[in-house]
């Protein structure tokens, strides 16, 4: 264990600090809106000679991820950052990075997708990329964004995985919000992530390889199956790295953050910053004797399905809060809800009343009274046995 030094940092700056400490070989990024301060701060470190990263300012996010792919294939340790429409513009290249098994770390400050034009927090961007073969972490605070970024790099580069990782946090709410963030000593981070020594890379001219090659009807299918299996089997490595980081930082690093779930009758499942708001409400309700709990998946891909089922299977009613809509899904439910309900179905649990709340789109504030109203709804559902509306909304104007 090593002691952290506390700094007043916004979430974006916390991630920049992690990147400074990691000192990657290459960072390629699009430098203006919807980019965040993550890259602004980091480019200052480059200009000041604090890191010896090759910083490539490119003309678009598509180009940013393309440059990251090229650099990573060449054998470099590579990181980048984006948000919102920038992530959407990377979409084609996200699949190429994961398909080539390039361990790139992308820090995302989650923001709404246009149109209508909006730059505030929701998870439409990250959720749009959930099937792209990248692992995904979602952070509750600037502290978690810092910690997740460091873990992400070690997980991505693990020889048994070689999978790209997205480390997400909430735009504005934590991205621009300043808080006390514990920063590990530089040497401790460098020792934790170690050096990156890829087994196969393009600049290893003594052992030439082809990457991203033509893969026809003969083997494409098998390669995709392998890629899927790599993600399916990644959990032991993820847990190992999280535990190692927990020992180093003395900060808990669960993939699933549980509050009150041992005996909760009513539970809320929610990602990122709103999980903190929900937990603070749950603490208050618990103090009044209500058996409530909050479950926050800190890791979203791979989805910790069994762990979530184990947590909620004895509940009397559950609410899943989604900061994105899966357009065209039944009743316009959200992606987290579809994942949780499919996990329950696969586990053979069908009697648990579970409802979905869409909340906070485009940065709409999600306040404690809204969370209280969700718990109150769950009480009614549990007592009456009537699930009522499947998809509901928190903080939506009537």
């Amino acid at each position: 264990m090593v002691a952290s030094k506390y700094m007043p940092l916004d979430g974006a700056n916390a991630v920049s600090q992690a990147m400074r400490q990691i000192n990657p070989d290459v960072v390629a990024a699009y430098p203006i809106t919807p980019q965040t301060a993550v890259v602004q701060n980091f480019s200052q470190y480059v200009a000041d000679g604090i890191v010896n990263t090759e910083f490539i300012p490119v003309e678009s996010e598509h180009a940013a991820m393309s440059a990251c792919i090229g650099a990573s294939a060449a054998g470099a340790r590579v990181m980048t950052a984006t948000a919102a429409n920038g992530l959407a513009l990377m979409w084609e290249m996200l699949y190429i990075a994961s398909g080539m098994r390039l361990p790139i770390v992308l820090t995302v400050v989650n923001r709404a997708l246009s149109s209508p034009l909006n730059i505030h927090c929701d998870h439409s961007d990250g959720m749009g990329a959930r099937d792209s073969g990248w692992l995904q972490f979602y952070a509750e605070s600037g502290q978690e964004a810092y910690d997740n970024t460091i873990k992400s790099l070690k997980i991505a580069e693990h020889k048994d995985l070689l999978l790209p990782v997205m480390s997400c946090q909430d735009g504005f709410i934590t991205g621009h919000g300043v808080e006390r963030v514990g920063i590990l000593p530089d040497e401790a981070v460098r020792e934790f992530v170690g050096s990156y020594d890829p087994e196969h890379y393009l600049l290893d001219t003594d052992h030439p390889v082809t990457m991203g090659a033509w893969d026809f009807t003969d083997y494409y299918f098998e390669h995709k199956r392998q890629q899927s299996e790599a993600i399916n089997n990644s959990m032991p490595v993820i847990l190992e790295v999280c535990e190692e980081y927990e020992r180093l930082s003395e900060r808990p690093q669960p993939i699933l953050d549980c509050y009150g779930m041992d005996d909760a009758e009513l539970a809320v499942i929610v990602l990122s910053s709103t999980a903190g708001t929900a937990r603070s409400v749950a603490r208050r309700l618990r103090a009044q004797g209500a058996k409530v709990g909050v479950l926050k998946p800190r890791l979203y891909r791979p989805f910790p399905a069994q762990q979530i089922v184990d947590c909620i299977k004895n509940c009397k009613a559950v609410a899943v809060l989604d900061r994105a809509i899966s357009f065209g899904a039944p009743q316009g439910m959200g992606p987290l809800y579809t994942d949780v309900t499919s996990a329950l179905f696969v586990a053979g649990i069908s009697g648990l009343p579970i409802v979905n709340y869409i909340y906070g789109l485009g940065g709409r504030d999600t306040t404690p009274p809204m969370i209280e109203s969700a718990f109150a709804d769950l009480r009614v559902i549990a007592d009456s046995g009537d699930r009522g509306d499947l998809v509901r909304y928190l903080g939506l104007r009537a």
Partner: protein, 191 residues
């Protein structure tokens, strides 16, 4: 149970409101506290009414939402009286700090605030004298320190102000800010 102090700031964009909230958080952090400081983001234009929030706590701050029931409200710009609901949600025993030449009694009457405590200080007058500009936010920290006695001290706030302004401004301007802050600390009146 953890102790939390929730502060809402009212000012106009360009008056250093966000920086003041961050400096206060930083000062609290140096005293071993946790904090959050964040503005309410709207269209960002100079002079527009803005709100910012600061939370200070002796434990991890989990809530990530605007402050609905502040313990302390700081009014950086008195011309917002009558335009913005400055006492909205303030706790009955809460504290109101107003940059004004008026007395606490006059402010109480204008805002219809009978509870808690009111502090007033002519922060604009002090800012014009010391900084030659109407940027009174930072110096109001001198009053926050007195109103929230025991939580953060003047020394910590002065240190945090030097740190947060030091990177952006010339040393003599930083020291003028510190001087203004100390004046506000001693010249404010309670009622």
């Amino acid at each position: 149970m953890s102790q939390m102090l929730e502060i809402r700031w009212h000012g106009r964009a360009g008056q250093g409101v966000v920086t003041a909230g961050e400096s206060l958080g930083e000062a609290a952090m140096h005293k071993g506290l946790y904090f959050q400081a964040f503005p309410e983001y709207g269209a960002e234009r100079m002079g527009a009414p803005i709100k910012a929030y600061t939370r200070l706590s002796d434990d991890t701050i989990e809530i990530h939402a605007p402050i609905l029931e502040p313990d302390l409200v700081v009014v950086v710009n008195p011309n917002l009286i009558g335009i913005v609901d400055l006492t909205e949600g303030i706790k009955p025993e809460g504290t109101l700090i107003v940059n004004t030449q008026q007395t606490p009694a006059e402010i109480r009457q204008r805002l219809g605030f009978s509870g808690g405590t009111v502090w007033t200080v002519d922060a604009t007058g002090i800012a014009m004298a010391e900084l030659k500009r109407d940027i009174p936010s930072t110096l109001l920290l001198g009053v926050v320190v007195r109103a929230a006695e025991g939580l953060v001290d003047l020394e910590a706030v002065v240190g945090a102000t030097r740190e947060s302004l030091g990177g952006k401004l010339r040393p003599e301007v930083v020291e003028a800010n510190v001087r203004a802050l100390q004046r506000a600390h001693s010249e404010c009146v309670q009622g």
